[in-house]
Homo-oligomer: 382 residues x 2
């Protein structure tokens, strides 16, 4: 089944326009996926997510497995029904959170044993268990369970880690294939599976990873193990080397990235999908995105500022509320502060992707890229 | 100017149906006013407040005076514009919060000196200052600055406190009248002013209070100093004595009350307006209203319950979400928990008032009152 169709390519870069078909509808690419960790995109009503036209969201397997538990979600009809979201959902494998949030106990060929960050209880995740959880959640796109190679990692570690991830990828594929034999037992019969390229910062390992994944064969390919602490120039160096190696006829997903500039640059390198907590987390911290960079709403200069966050923005927040009001809500720690800020920041990200798609459509991505880079000021360390 | 019109009265009780006209539109009575303390009804988007058809909301003078400051709100066009709410707003006088939240320093005939609960800074409120603040906020209904007589209070204290409140009421009226001479200087040229009856739990003092207020003349009359710690039977005893004494042709407002049963009973005694933090505060604590009483969503019995909070409810939350999901959100401390719970609880309160109005319209309030009291179980101390 062909689920991805590239409809246009850019003459000056690897940017491309496409349509990705899932069991819950088509997604135009390049796309950004808001993060809905625990069965909710934090501070957003589903109606508001639709108003800003989120086409697909991400759910976190690790969190949902621990609470409320994947069997409960399965019993209630799957994650779409549970959280009342009828558009596509991608679930990660839980691997990244096991390493970053859980108290890691042991990695073996079989899988990973860890303690929950919630209550210290002991759990095991493996390729088979991760796929089983994602099947219970019924997401449209599942991710392979892998080890996210940390940074820095020497060549030996990165190679060993890669070998493990590739063996696990094959097991995920097998597990997914077996489940397809009895589709009537699945929450979502149209689930797709993406492989994840690893290999640390080593070009030859990345190449090897991509080849092995393509050999196994997946519905899409992710670039994992980036944005894990390495300098940004290095991230883009690896991305630039890796992306062209990925199959042309499948979507490419850069995991956990990034800032608005990262997105534009990633698209130029041929990335089709992104996810990041930045817009939602920054919203709750009062850092709001504009076309010229981020604005910290708590600053005294906004105390009596009657203007919207961004005069060019058409989101619900900017159509209605002043910086002065948003500053007041933030200083007063009102829940509405997180709500209005999240609407704005997610709208900014989704609108940016829409502008990127329009630019590619109009064969003007090169100019868009240059203009955006000129206008947008990314602070150090952002 | 006649702003209040009683359109129907109940044959079996003092319940009455009316229309109250303000500068931002008509309000059908009996009505419940959601509390929007700091320029926001906590966890509610204005669009959602309109979806549940809130006709009027309340703003807190004490909070808005301290943060962001009434002069800032005036400069930005008044509270309606600041918080983007184009329907009626009632502001309290700040008096109650000075006593309950502030660190009270001194009460004199002139006014009250207190320290802010936010930063300990020293402030003074007086009848004149309270009215000036409420004028800067531009609410549709202002409340007189008074002393909320505490419970218990002996007769001597209650009488002295009442005398002070009545002198202050006259000063509020004078201040309001003077401002009307130069309407062009007002944020809201159609502001109304309500007097507040005090007198503690002493029938003769309550009577005296009502007579003095009626003599001064206000656009509406509130019953203050109830629900301040006295036993509920005593509250209703005082209410039953006081309400019939209030002018028939003006709205009667029972401040800070109460539970669903309190509302139904208050209406039966002739009350037209209510406000209370109960639906919004309880929502954030996971206590949800149903026609049979409150439900604590955190209970284990709701873990896998696919039903809505209340199968008879048509609010956004009940139309879409299961108890299992709402429990998950609450246990996960997700912001969406407060949002969805608040929508439901406020809808419950507003819907209750709508059902009360319909019952009066259909000359069936007596039956409604009996059926509601039979079905609704109010827990001890609720």
């Amino acid at each position: 089944m062909t689920t991805f169709r590239v409809t246009q390519t850019d003459a000056h870069s690897h940017a491309r326009l496409g349509t990705f078909t899932t069991a819950h509808g088509d997604i135009p690419t390049p796309i950004f996926m808001p993060v809905g960790t625990a069965g909710t995109v934090k501070a957003m009503l589903p109606t508001m997510l639709k108003e800003i036209d989120a086409k697909i969201i991400l759910g976190n397997t690790y969190h949902l497995y621990l609470r409320p538990g994947h069997e409960l979600v399965r019993q209630l009809g799957g994650l779409h029904k549970f959280m009342v979201w009828d558009r596509p959902i991608l679930t990660d494998s839980g691997g990244f959170q096991v390493y970053s949030l859980g108290d890691l106990r042991k990695i073996t060929d079989e899988g990973v044993t860890f303690r929950s960050h919630l209550d210290g209880s002991l759990h095991t995740l493996s390729p088979e268990i991760s796929i089983e959880i994602q099947q219970a959640l019924g997401s449209d796109i599942m991710m392979c369970f892998d080890e996210c190679t940390p940074y820095p990692a020497d060549r030996g570690y990165a190679a060993k880690s890669l070998a493990l991830s590739m063996a696990w990828a094959a097991r995920c594929k097998r597990c997914h294939g077996e489940a397809q034999q009895t589709p009537e037992r699945l929450v979502n019969q149209g689930q797709l599976l993406f492989g994840i390229a690893q290999g640390g910062m080593y070009a030859d390992l990345r190449k090897q990873s991509v080849e092995q994944l393509a050999e196994i064969g997946f519905d899409g390919y992710a670039i994992g193990g980036l944005s894990v602490g390495e300098p940004k120039p290095l991230m883009f160096e690896v991305l630039e080397q890796t992306t062209p190696l990925l199959p042309q006829d499948a979507p490419r997903y850069l995991m956990g990235v990034g800032t608005p500039l990262d997105l534009v640059r990633g698209v130029a390198m041929g990335v089709d999908m992104f996810d990041c907590v930045l817009p939602t987390r920054n919203a709750r911290n009062g850092a709001l995105f504009t076309r010229r960079g981020q604005l910290s709403i708590k600053q005294a200069q906004y105390r009596d500022d009657p203007r919207p966050i961004d005069e060019a923005c058409v989101c619900y927040t900017c159509r209605n509320f002043s910086r002065a009001y948003l500053r007041h809500l933030f200083m007063s720690k009102e829940i509405l502060s997180s709500m209005l800020n999240t609407i704005h920041n997610l709208h900014f990200y989704l609108d940016l992707m829409s502008r990127i798609r329009n630019a590619i459509t109009e064969s003007a991505f090169h100019e868009f890229h240059a203009a955006f880079t000129r206008e947008y000021v990314e602070e150090e360390g952002a």
